[in-house]
């Protein structure tokens, strides 16, 4: 016998438990329950319950298993007025979901009762197309892409490591990319510093980086810091960034950056290269150590020549710079396991990776509890010189 709309509604009401907006809010605050917004995308974009998942009623059968694999997990469906969510809940029940309720009165009543709601950031149609391969990944999606667009990454150095990092951060849509570099493009840079170009030899590296970044992705706001990072300006330079990619080539700068970044709690993705080899880790104490825990004092210059002295295979900073970018994007999206506490060694000739465990130095003058307390009290602990002072081995080397 054919059923009318009224029949179907009555049937759904008899099968599905309904919760009022205030009851739903209590459930929401307890956590553990997934709220599924079954309205159309255009309605969702006007605002939704905080933390809700959006699956239009027309896609509910296709998409719910991906969003909610556990059929015994509690679910509350809602729509604008409480009818579509009732039918959607009925579908979920038919699909074997055991703990489904529908919110009566829907989002309209929720809003009119003054309960909290948020407006999602909307990607433009061009952005949806540009980032479509990100949007397809559940771990990124619109929310993750929006996070990236609102994120700020700082590159220390637009050189061998900074070049690939800048390109891929820009392509990924990291909204603000700061570039610290005081150098100009030299012909000898172009064997690996792929963000620059032959016709820009002699140009400022910061300006050259901006041109390439914006040609790739005009969404990105490029902030140029045309200066050398020093103890005096480091605090100002790193202020407000969410993550820092260290691609400098001196120990002094690396220590200066470390000390300042630890003090304000900005994670630093660290990489360094030498000929065919590279080192990579994330310094983000208290999760893992800082640079001074790993290398308390710098080596003598002859033990640590830079690329301009020792040379480097061009692809090595390319690979290490991209691994840095991978870590940076994971940090920004809060996904995966970062390399904090692990040092990754790359050997291009063997095509091998080796992972070493890193530990926090309980006596570290920068990131230990004692050091943090001293800094808070306004009397930071003294740190060893960040340039090599020969007394450690001078006699032995003579």
């Amino acid at each position: 016998m054919p059923k009318s709309y009224a029949d179907l509604l009555k049937e759904a009401r008899s099968q599905i438990k309904e919760v009022s907006p205030p009851e739903a809010d209590l459930i929401r605050e307890r956590g553990a329950t997934t709220f599924v917004d079954v309205r159309e995308a255009s309605e969702w974009e006007q605002g939704h319950l905080p933390g809700a998942v959006h699956i239009s009623k027309s896609y509910i059968e296709q998409q719910i298993e991906g969003a909610l694999p556990d059929r015994d997990a509690p679910v509350v469906t809602y729509c604008a007025g409480g009818v579509r969510s009732l039918f959607a809940a009925q579908t979920l029940q038919e699909m074997g979901y055991t703990n489904v309720s529908s919110m009566s009165g829907g989002f309209q009543q929720w809003k009119s009762q003054g309960l909290p709601w948020t407006v999602p950031t909307i990607l433009s149609s061009e952005q949806k197309q540009r980032y479509s391969r990100h949007l397809l990944i559940p771990e990124v999606g619109t929310e993750g892409q929006t996070t990236l667009l609102g994120s700020k990454a700082l590159l220390i150095g637009a050189g061998g490591l900074g070049s690939p990092a800048a390109l891929y951060l820009a392509a990924a849509g990291v909204g603000t990319i700061g570039v610290v570099d005081f150098d100009v493009v030299d012909l000898s840079n172009l064997q690996r510093q792929v963000i620059h170009a032959t016709d820009r030899v002699g140009e400022k590296k910061t300006e050259s980086a901006r041109r390439t970044i914006n040609a790739l992705n005009p969404d990105v706001n490029v902030v140029l810091h045309e200066e050398m990072l020093t103890d005096e300006n480091v605090g100002r330079l790193i202020d407000g960034y969410d993550v820092i990619l260290d691609g400098t080539d001196t120990f002094e700068t690396r220590y200066t950056l470390n000390d300042a970044a630890v003090a304000v709690g900005i994670p630093v993705v660290h990489a360094s290269v030498f000929r065919f080899e590279g080192q990579l880790t994330v310094f983000d104490p208290p999760s893992g150590p800082c640079y001074r825990c790993l290398y308390p004092t710098p080596p003598p210059p002859e033990l640590a020549p830079g690329c301009s002295v020792a040379g480097v295979l061009g692809v090595v900073p390319g690979i290490m710079g991209l691994l840095q970018t991978n870590e940076a994007i994971k940090i920004l999206l809060r996904i995966g396991d970062s390399l904090a506490g692990r040092l990754l060694l790359f050997d291009a000739l063997d095509a091998s990776f080796t992972e070493l465990r890193l530990r926090r130095d309980p006596a570290c003058p920068v990131c230990s509890e004692q050091a943090v307390a001293a800094r808070v009290a306004g009397h930071p602990l003294p740190v060893p010189s960040s340039t090599y002072e020969g007394e450690f081995v001078l006699g032995a080397r003579a």
Binding site: G160, T248, A271, R275, E277, P299, R357, A396, R397
Partner: protein, 90 residues
């Protein structure tokens, strides 16, 4: 015998090789054997007092010996000892 991996910056002081097999029951003995075979490495790795230079890290397999028993850390056959100086190139 343990395998000692020589970092690129120290290879010229170790006959140009990437790794060497050295016998020894502890990290200290292995490094002693290494510097006996390649005396040029001694000043790079150790201070006058014979302590490991602080800018060089030594790992047995993936663990930093400073958090094990330093030079007395026992090494087994087939263990890999990695010498890791800081590098700054970018």
């Amino acid at each position: 015998m343990s395998t000692v991996r020589i970092p690129p910056v120290l290879r010229s002081a170790a006959g140009g090789v990437k790794s060497v097999e050295i016998g020894g029951a502890t990290v200290g003995e292995v490094l002693e054997g290494l510097t006996a075979a390649h005396p040029a490495l001694r000043t790079q790795l150790f201070s006058d007092e014979g302590a490991l230079n602080r800018f060089v890290n030594v790992y047995v397999n993936d663990q930093d010996v400073r958090y094990l028993q330093e030079g007395s850390t026992p090494v087994e056959e087939r263990d890999t000892i990695i010498i890791l100086p800081a590098m700054a190139g970018g």
